[in-house]
Structures are given as C-alpha cells and as structure tokens.
Symmetry: C5
Subunit: 262 residues, 5 copies
C-alpha cells in the first residue's frame, strides 16, 4: 500500500469507481433490462460524471472505447476476469499485462483475488507480478478482495470480509474493493483491518435508491473511502441522478436522505 491521494483515481481522498466488466464476469444477462448498455460507449458517457474517479473495464473494452474518452475518464484496467460458463474451483484469468495496460493509458489496475479458493496461492502469485509491474509503471493497484471457494461458506460474514481487507493490505494493494459485511460495525472492523489502505464497497446488484444510498452512507461513516459500483448505476434509468446523489454522500458527507431530497 502506498499513498495514492495524488492519483487521478482519487478525489479528496475518496474514489467512485464505475465498473463495467459484467459482460465477461456474468454474461450479457446483466444487460437484459438495459440492452442499450451492451454498447460500452453508453457507460463511458456515464463515467464522464464528475463523481466518477475511474472506469473499470477489461482490456478489450478499453482498447476499443477508451481512446474516445481519455480526456474525460480515468481508466482502471481490470487485469483478470473470467466467465461463469465453466465449472470448478474459483479462479480468474490474467487477461492483460501491465505494460499493455500502461500503453493504452491506464491510470490504475485492478485484480480479483479469491482468497479461500484452492487457487488462492496461484492467484496471489499472479497478483505479485501485476503488483510489482504496476509499481514500475507507477500505477495504483485495486484489489477486488473476494473470498470465495471450497473453504468459504459465507462470503459476506464479517470475519471473512475483515480477512479480505487484511489480505489486500499484506499483499500490497492500494485499495480493496469488498462486499458489504452486513453492518456498519462490521464495515468499520474491515476498515480497521486494512490499516491505512483505502477500502471501497462493492455496489452489488441493483436495489432501491434509498436502500443503496443508505448503505453507502453507512459505509462512509464506517471509514470506507468510496464505492466501486456497476449495476446500481448503469442498470438505472437515470444514472446521472444516482451519481449526483452519490457525489454528495461520498465526497460531501451528506446523508442518504439529504442527498435524495435534492
């Protein structure tokens, strides 16, 4: 973990990462209700909102669409990922080298680590290379810290989530993206477990405006430094509206109620 407060993916010490790698991780099914969002340009447009400090996509989307948005969007290149089509213990393919990510203008890199998978050792070693290459290119590293696998019965239990942030800190991540562990207290422990490393909450599947923003409010109160969100933004009819509200909760410390009222 290094201090990345000067990085373009951070604003006032916080980050709002808009993620759109669902086409790989979940398949086109995530776009069923919003088929127009299959066109990545639509989500890049959303990412030009001031609240968004980075857009997280896989290599192919980045090389195809980022050139049109590089003045307005910061690129967080997601380095690994895989489909849900196959069977077997959790794993993720490294789809991009750091050198290539840097070549196409990445401002940061992202990596999923399935702590608890029987492939954890192999994934951690892949993370080592990404991490050290990223240091050489001066790119912050965001870990999708997602315990999953044969050894993990419940992937949102407080002690599992706190273990996840700690793994991220110990292995060298600059930011850990975690699932909400169910309460503000559990989130606060996960934040403490991360030392000085930033923790952001994963947005998860789409919920109501109020439910979503309340959780974000709780998370920020617990000491988290922001959000990495996909479906809860781009599956909405009006992504701008929710981003306006998120901006207030995340950067201006407003409550969910206050942010929605406006």
């Amino acid at each position: 973990m290094l201090n990345i407060d000067d990085s373009p993916i951070v604003r006032d010490g916080k980050s709002l990462i808009l993620a759109m790698d669902h086409g790989l991780e979940h398949g086109p099914v995530d776009f069923t209700e919003v088929p127009e969002k299959l066109d990545p340009s639509t989500v890049f447009e959303t990412a030009t909102h001031d609240a968004v400090t980075a857009m997280a996509v896989q290599k192919g989307i980045a090389e195809g669409y980022y050139p049109s948005y590089e003045d307005d969007v910061n690129l967080l290149l997601k380095m690994n990922g895989t489909s849900t089509l196959w069977m077997g213990e959790y794993d993720s393919a490294v789809n991009c080298s750091v050198e290539y990510a840097a070549d196409i203008g990445a401002d940061a890199v992202g990596f999923t680590l399935y702590g608890g998978s029987n492939h954890e050792v192999e994934m951690a070693e892949e993370f080592r290379e990404i991490h050290e290459d990223a240091r050489a290119h001066d790119l912050p590293v965001v870990m999708w810290a997602y315990p999953r696998g044969q050894g993990v019965k419940n992937d949102t239990k407080p002690d599992v989530i706190s273990y996840a942030t700690r793994i991220a800190l110990e292995l060298g991540a600059d930011v850990a993206k975690i699932k909400y562990p169910g309460s503000k207290e559990a989130m606060a422990h996960a934040v403490d477990s991360a030392g000085d490393m930033k923790v952001v909450m994963s947005g998860g599947s789409k919920t109501s405006d109020y439910e979503f923003l309340s959780t974000v409010e709780a998370v920020m109160d617990a000491g988290a430094k922001g959000l990495a969100v996909g479906r809860n933004v781009w599956q909405r009819e009006d992504p701008t509206r929710i981003l306006d509200a998120l901006e207030k909760v995340i950067y201006e410390g407003e409550t969910a109620d206050a942010a929605l009222e406006e």
Copy 2:
C-alpha cells in the same frame, strides 16, 4: 478490439474467411468425399477468389503453401488447434508464435477460445499473449469464440452465443467467429453483445446452396460482418459458384434467392 477496416482481411467492412484447418481439427475424414482437397494447393486456389478476404490455416500448411499464393491470398494464421483423437475437457494447443506467423507473412492471426471449458482460464491467458504479441506486430486477431466443455450443455443456445461474442470483445479480439444461434434475432443479439467488434458466422457442415445462403443472408441482416467457412465451400464440387453467390450476399447485400438466380 481495434478498427481493422484498413486490414487486407476486410473488404468494405466485411470479411469472408476461407478456413482449412479441418485436417488437424477433424482429421482426413472431412476430405473423404473430396480426396483431392487433401492437397492444400487446391484450397489455396479457391482462396484466390475475390470474395475471399483471408485463408485460415495452421502453421505447417502456411509455411509449405503460402509462398506460392502470397500475392493472391491474405493469410490468417490459426495459432492454436488440436486433434479429436484424445479425450478429456476441451483444450487447444498453441502451435505457432506470433513472431513466426509474422515471419511467414500472416496478415492476421486466429485463436480458438473454448469459453466454458475447465481450461478456459488457461486458454484466456494464452490468448492474452497472442493478442499482445499480435498488437506489437499490427496483426488483427480473430477469435473462434466457441463455448464448449463440462459447463456448456448446448453450444448454439442464443445466450451462450451472445456470451461468446461478449467474451471476445472483452478480451480484445477484433473479430469473433461464432456458430449460428438458430435465428436472426438471436444473431442480432450476439452482434449487439459484441459492441463495435465484428462478428462473422462459422460456416459449419455442408448444407444445400439455398439453406446455406439463406442463413448467411439472415446473418448479414442481423448485423454480422461476414463469414468464416470451410466445408461449405471446399467440399462443394464447384467452390467458385458458391463464392460468387456469397460475394453477392455478403458484400452487395443481395438475397439468397437473387444471388442463386444469377
């Protein structure tokens, strides 16, 4: 995905790839009815047809025969492939390096990804290297996007095919070659799922002229950018006749009926 409209393997935004790697993938059995086609020269001759924008072969065929055709044929070197002799979960050997492909004059490279195979992660990582090496040599990358394996019950189901094109886009392919998902609507969804990346249909096993051309017509109407075909061309008695018709359907927007009438 990059814009490859200036590539020799593209004509007016579209491609007709003549594939002949069946000797490796299926064995000589595919040549039973047309034993003279075991001589690759015969298929290279066919590939000199103006409708054909590239011929796809394995390394050994390329180094042995392409030198005689390099003025008249564009070479799409198929980088991986394997026989049907062995047993076990779908996988494919990387039989050529990009550097060697470039040395022998390749205009593009091809790679099979069996999304859904329990070897998907390994294959995606092999694809990463091929892709980044191809970018360094300025060679377009065509993905044979073929979900197969323990996790794939039906490899032509619409949602499987749409997932296949999306994987190709997210991983960085410039063209995805997919099987026909059974209807024009399903094909259109697979095309949408691919964003701005080109999608071409895989020709499949030999069918009647009308059936074949009708499918191609539907596919082009659905937004696909062409065809990658083997048996449906070189297993025919008169490959030129079908290529003449394909040229009309693919590049001139004619119907199957109109193309056959001539």
Copy 3:
C-alpha cells in the same frame, strides 16, 4: 549458510525477530484482544526496541509502513505466505520478489518451507530462486522451517524438528526458525543438526511471562541464537517489559527468573 554476524539483523551473534504477518497467516482473529494492533504502526513502534534486530512483515505492510521506520528498524521481508481460508495440502504463495524486497530496503528475507507437504518439492524450488536472488543482493535468508502436511503427524516431535533444521542447512538458509520441540535436549539436537547455521525459536501463541521466558532460556542454553516472536510480544499489554526481559535472556545470558525480577 553464510556467516551473517555482520548483518544488521544480528546482534552479538544473536537475533530477536519481531514478526507480524499474522493478519495474512491467521487473519484478523489474532488481533481480537488487541484491536489497536491492527494498525501496523503500533508494532513497528515496538520494533524500535533495542532488543529487536529485525521486524518480519509481508510486502504490503513493508511498503506502507517501513519508510517511517527505516532508521530505527531492520526489515526482514517475509517472501511467502497465505491465508487459512482455503483447503488442501500446505502451500504458500511467493508474494514478493527479492528485487522488490531490496528496493524497499529489506535487510534480510524470510521464506516458509513446509517440509513434509506434498508441495515440498515445489516450495524448495521456489526457495532456490529466492535464495540465489538473495545472495545476489547480499541479503541473509531466514527459513521458517515448518514441517507440515500429509506426511507429518506431529510437527513438534524432536526428530521432525531436527530434520527441519537440517533441511534448512542443506538448502542454504542462514537462519532456521523452528517450533520448540518440547525439551532442551531435543532443542540441542536440532541445533546440532543445523551445523554452523543459526537456529531461532518460534514464539508461538501467547503464554505467561515466566513460562515464555523459561522456554527462551532453555532454548538459548541449548545453543539457539535467539527468537522470532509475534503474539508473545505484541499481544501483551506492555510489549516493552517483555522485550526488556528477553534482551537479558537472549543477549546477556540471564535466567528467566533474573530477567523478570528486574
């Protein structure tokens, strides 16, 4: 094994290594009673005690916190480690390269070898690379010599522990960190088994001051060259007090009784 008596991690031929990689190896659960120690700074502060010759942490902790302590603490970078979340035969991920360790100021490197694991061969080969890279950077190598796995019924049996120190010697470690084999005689045999290589005892889980110091006294009498300790120091309310006592037992040859009296 080389003579490392001139190394900063050695004082008068002996070492007291303060380890804090428990967040990765055991999870935040080790901090339940001392939640403030989740902040690595607190343990680095403790490591500034004169008795401590090195602090052992993973890469992420080192790059985040060591810059503030590099004048007062010697860094032993632990090169591998893994969580307890996953299942299967003992293994450990290599989380840092020697080059990166050197870049961030490491004075020595540490490596866990699970002799007896069915991954022993693979781990020994990883150790080979770390060892030779460490030699090239002139960094001493400490082996966490921990027999574990399908073939090891009891990991503190005297003959297992003596085998552990011998493996460390034969593979090239400069120091072996072992568990206490239950008696001073067994410890003496483990020390003999190590030839001229230094042996230090692993501190283990927290015990009473007297019990802990008596064991250290026995270990030093048996010819060991010190201690690598974590929980028995930083889980205590007053780490300074126990370090004062350890200093006397380890470097000044005092008895546990004498050291506690003061």
Copy 4:
C-alpha cells in the same frame, strides 16, 4: 513443411534414417540378441553405409560418439524420448534444446508426438518451440507421428495413420515417420493426407528379409519417401547386406525380389 531436398538427410528426394534410441525407449532388452550393439560405435559404423542419410540418436549418444563420425554420418538428433519404466498416459521428455543439437553438429532434429494422448496439447506446444527453433537454425524437423493413448484403440488403423501424417503436416514437420497401416492403399492415403510433406515408414520389430523389403517396396510404391529403421537393420547379423538391398528398393526403385537376388 519446407522443401528439404537440399538437406544432407535427403538423397534423391528420399531418406533412410537409421535409428538407435531403443536403449532409452525400450531399454537394453532390445540388445539381448546382439549385446555388442550396446556399444553405439557399432551402429555408427553401420550408419556410414551410403544408403543411410542420417542416424537418429539421443543427445547423450550424439555428444559421446558423433565426433568420431561427423565426416561420414549425418546426425538427426532425437529431441524427446522416455523410458518404458513408468506408468500413465503417453508422454515424452524433451531431452535436448535445438541450440545444443546445433552445437554438436545436428543436421536435423526429430520429435515424437503422441497424437491421441491426453498429453497431446502439451506435446504439440513443445513441438512448436522445437520447430521454430529448428527453423532459426535451418534444421529439418522429422516427426515421429505416433498416435497413442487413452483415445487410440488401434495405432496402425488406416484412418489413425492418415490422421497422423496430417497432424505432422499441419504442425510444420518436414518429414513424418509413421507405422505401416497394413496395406499399400492405406499407405497411399496416408501419403496423400500429408500433402507435399515427406512420409517415411517406421521399420518396426525385426522380420525376415523378404517380408521387410516387400513392405518397403509397397511403401515406396505408395509414394513414401523412405524409411526410418533400427532393429530391422542393427539386430541383423549382417546389417550391410540389408542396407545394400534397401538402397536398391528405396533409391533405385527395385523390387524386393530383385534387390534380394543380387
């Protein structure tokens, strides 16, 4: 496949390769009747016969004995091979690098590919490296094209053998060494399947002069370009006599009868 007619291992478009890697592949048991042949010099002496265009041996034999024969024998270095001692699916170790083969004077390299083995993918990838390295050193590549493994019930069935030559062609071999598929027609199909690539028959276990030469005659009639033979030559009391006869059948187009009469 490249044109290798100018290579020293080819004479008038044909080759007679004397192989002696049986000590590794089968063990000393193949020498029971001819114990003096355990001394590789005896077989190198035989290889000085004008009919022999290359001698195929493993690295250790080559580096030990070839220096005394390099003026009179062409060296085909067999790059992989393994013993029969172990159990499990067919595989073969790569025992030599192309660079080392070139250093010790190899005129060509040989590689066994067990198409049909569940290790086929891995072996094909090893072949890729050998092939491309051999191209860089301008050394022809001979594939021992031997389908074997869980998926291959009968390794001399005509369609299996024709598949074998095709795999060799598609992967880039210059010569395929195959077992006799049982009839001249089947051999002719295997030759057709190979396109312009040379096919040579594997000599197999020792048979009578007439039986052996008749098979060679049939094979040459079927379009093959020679023979790779071991036991049928060096297990004979008078290897020179059979080589004289083979010279007539292979290079001069004589019948087995005519060749034996002389």
Copy 5:
C-alpha cells in the same frame, strides 16, 4: 557423455565420490550412531583423503563449508534432492542452479533421476537444463540413476539397473551412480549398457569391511570406474582405514583381502 578423464573428480580414469547429503535425503536419523558427523566439517576432513576425488553435498553445505576445504577437496554439487517427510510418487527438488554451483567452486554437478517414477518426464527435462548449463560451464555431470516409483517393483533387479545406466548414457550424463544389481555379471551388463560412460557403484547402507570391499572388488572387476559412498565411510569409526583400503581396490586393482591385510 564426454571424456572427463582430465577432470579433477577423476584419478587414473576412476572416481571415489564421498557423498554426504543424507541429512536432506534421509534426515538426521543417519547420524544417530555418529552424532559428531552432523557437523559437515568432519566429513570434509575425511574427504581430504587422497582416495577421494570429490565430495558430494547440497548447496547449503557447500556454501557454508567448502570455502575452508577448496584447496584439498573437489566439490561435486548435488543439484537436486528432497526429504523423506512427504508422501506421493518419487520426485526431487532442484535446489541449485548451475551458475550458482559454478560460483561457489563446484568441479562437477550431480542429479538424481528417478526413472520409472511418474515424474520421470519432468525430471528428465530438469536434467536437460542442468546438463546443458553444465556443458556451458565445463562441469562434468554425474547422474544418480535410481529407478524408483509406481512402475518399479524391484530397484536392484539386473535389467532395471542396466536400463538405468543406459538412460544416463542416452540423456548425456558423464558418470552414472547405480545400486549394486546383485552380481558381478549383472554389474558387467550394466557397464556394457553404458557404452563408454563411466559407472560407479552406490555405497549403500553400512556393512562389514570385508563385505563392502568384496563388493567393490567385484564391481571394479565388472568394469565399473569407482564408487560413490557415504555411510559406508563416514558412519565408520575410522574412515581413514576404509579409505586406505578402497584406494587399493579402486586405483591399484588389489583384492579386498589384500587391501584389508595391510
């Protein structure tokens, strides 16, 4: 195999290698009766005897103790080895690179190959690298040719031992160290099987002076070129006495009786 008669590890065409890697391969248990030999210096002292042409140890022992003996002892660095603690098919970790071996003054390298293990292929490929690196550094290669594993019922059967020497020859070893196959005739066959490559007998577990020397006498009569011995020398009360006798049997062609009488 190269001619290594000019190598320091050879004296008059023969070798007596004193091995002491038992601490790794067997554990400290081999030192139970001679605990003072746990100190490697004691065995290095023994190795200064004129009869000993090389001492074989693992990397860690070499780097720690060889500097004090480099004027009086030749170093055979044993490159792989593993403990008996783990379970599963025979394998051995590569614990040293050739470059490092050369840096610390090795005069030759040693490598165990478990022909017959289901890891034979992998071990042979590791041997390839060691062998070619050793050639580049002009270091002779000694193979511990030890058939073991699921496919080997009896590892001292004559045909197994003759296969072992042949594998060593074919893969490029300069010396093969084998177990005694039970009779002088079987040993002679194993020697014949090795061509011009040197064969030395493995000393095995401690036996009486007469029994041991008689076997050595038989082995030398059978054409072997010496001995690689550990326990039968350093487990004895007076290693010098047995080395004096071995010197006579190995280098001066005396009988066991004659050598013992003196």
